[in-house]
């Protein structure tokens, strides 16, 4: 019988949640790596038992863990993330030059077809790749070395490369997003890059329509329609119909268009999910009501999804990597909160129930659909 495996990264360890296809009873294992920050863990699309996890803390730095048995056991692999050549400088918060310094791995994106190949998005922003199961990491320096690099600046969470999307239809096409530089696209496997931010407008930078400098919080793509991208920006929910060449706003009737995650229904490329957050200074849901918003029209028209979610006194946040969808016939949606709850919907968002309520603050949620 089919099932799902939900991979949860938190401030104090990783958790693996398993269920059959009904998704109403859950087996929970963890914490794995207790006491460590697990920014992200993700499974290989080419081998469901191959998982990668980013483990770090302020004392001992960055580690990468690999599992070859679906999370039952783990092995520390390579953790040398050295920038290639001169690291150079980017802008600090006050606009002065600041040296590029590695802090942590925010996001791991396994290759679509090779379990041993995996990409890592890091802070300070850079893209690394391993072709040997995480033992050795090499920077793809074309991104950090883009001519606009010295003008990039950190967002509130640091200057992180947090989103990596591999285009399933065009080998070599990769999308990344950096806070606060913007979205970038490579068409040659990550060797060269160009900003794809036309149509974005951001307050707080000297030129609101600048080529770079936008605080993109998340990108999402449906694999069957890879030229359509959705974006949750610092403010504004955006859409591109031409692989990032241009963007237009689809915030429509959302109560607020600030937020972090965005994701797409597994079987409906025009059905999109966001979690509106009050504002950049109030990182909690409007009116203390936790509401996922769904658009079945590819944006602009949104409906609140509230059944099973707290509708009073709720002041959690949902971080950018903390939402995922499964690909069972009735699409499952999952998200985790900074209050330690992981919510699941097995009916595309119509109703929700917590899988767990009291984990450490959730940093990331991924899901694997098992045969």
């Amino acid at each position: 019988m089919s099932g799902v495996r939900v991979l949860v990264g938190t401030r104090k360890g990783a958790f693996v949640l398993r269920s059959d296809g009904k998704r109403d009873r859950w087996d929970i294992s963890g914490p794995h790596f207790p006491g460590w920050e697990i920014y992200h863990l993700k499974g290989s699309p080419a081998d469901q038992d191959r998982l990668y996890a980013s483990q770090s803390n302020g004392w001992f730095g960055q580690l990468i863990q690999r599992s070859d048995d679906g999370g039952a056991s783990w092995e520390a692999v390579g953790n040398d993330f050295s920038y290639q050549g001169e690291a150079g400088t980017h802008q600090w918060y006050d606009g002065t030059p600041h040296p590029w310094e590695f802090a942590r791995v925010w996001h791991l994106e396994p290759s679509l077809d090779d379990p041993d190949t995996v990409y890592a998005g890091v802070e300070d922003a850079g893209l690394f790749r391993s072709a040997d199961g995480g033992k050795h990491w090499e920077e793809l320096p074309g991104l950090r070395g883009h001519e606009s690099g010295p003008s990039w600046q950190p967002g509130a969470g640091g200057m992180c490369l947090h989103t990596i999307i591999l285009d399933p239809s065009l080998p070599g096409r990769i999308f990344t997003a950096i806070s606060a530089a913007g979205a970038f696209r490579s068409d040659d496997g990550g060797q060269t890059w160009r900003p794809v931010n036309q149509g974005l407008r951001s307050e707080g930078i000297p030129d609101p329509a600048a080529e770079v400098g936008h605080c993109v919080h998340r990108l999402a793509m449906h694999p069957s329609r890879p030229s359509v991208l959705y974006m949750q920006k610092h403010w504004d929910v955006m859409r591109s119909d031409d692989a990032g060449e241009s963007w237009h706003e689809i915030s429509g009737d959302l109560p607020t268009d600030f937020g972090f995650p965005i994701d797409v229904h597994a079987h409906e490329p025009g059905t999109v999910y966001v979690v509106p957050i009050t504002s950049d200074s109030h990182h909690f849901p409007p009116e203390g009501k936790l509401r996922v918003y769904r658009s079945r029209t590819g944006g602009d028209e949104w409906e609140p999804l509230t059944r099973g979610l707290p509708q009073e006194h709720c002041y959690v946040n949902v971080l950018r990597d903390a939402m995922a969808v499964d690909s069972l016939d009735s699409c499952g949606i999952y998200f985790g909160t900074t209050g330690g709850q992981v919510y699941a919907s097995s009916d595309a968002g119509d109703s929700w129930a917590p899988i767990v309520r009291d984990l450490p603050a959730v940093l990331s949620v991924e899901v694997q659909t098992l045969p």
Binding site: G35, W36, G58, W59, F60, G61, A76, N79, D80, S82
Partner: protein
């Protein structure tokens, strides 16, 4: 207390003991002069998963939140190639790798 003449005892913080899958102190054979650098080289050779968690893999610089103590002295700012106290080299006292005190 007496120690084996050519065995250096190293005490790791809890997170690194878990990572290295050891309990209690680690005992290391350290060839040549017993310096901080030689002890860390021997430690990382035996437990490669510790590389990068105590000092930078490329520069050898101690991580900011790591301290080195021995014989009731703070050795964190000693030169990496300076000899460690005789009691450490002789295994009578442990070399302590400590996570800096900070809450959270």
């Amino acid at each position: 207390m007496t120690g084996h003449a050519d065995v250096v005892r190293v005490a790791l913080p809890a997170h690194l003991r878990t990572l290295a899958r050891v309990q209690g102190e680690v005992e290391l054979q350290v060839p040549g002069r017993v310096t901080q650098c030689a002890v860390l080289d021997a430690l990382e050779a035996r437990y490669p998963m510790l590389r990068g968690t105590i000092r930078d893999q490329r520069t050898g610089k101690r991580r900011a939140f790591i301290r080195f103590f021995a014989c009731e002295e703070d050795l964190s700012h000693e030169q990496p190639d300076a000899p460690l106290p005789e009691a450490v080299a002789a295994g009578a006292e442990p070399y302590l790798i400590v996570g800096a005190m900070a809450g959270g």
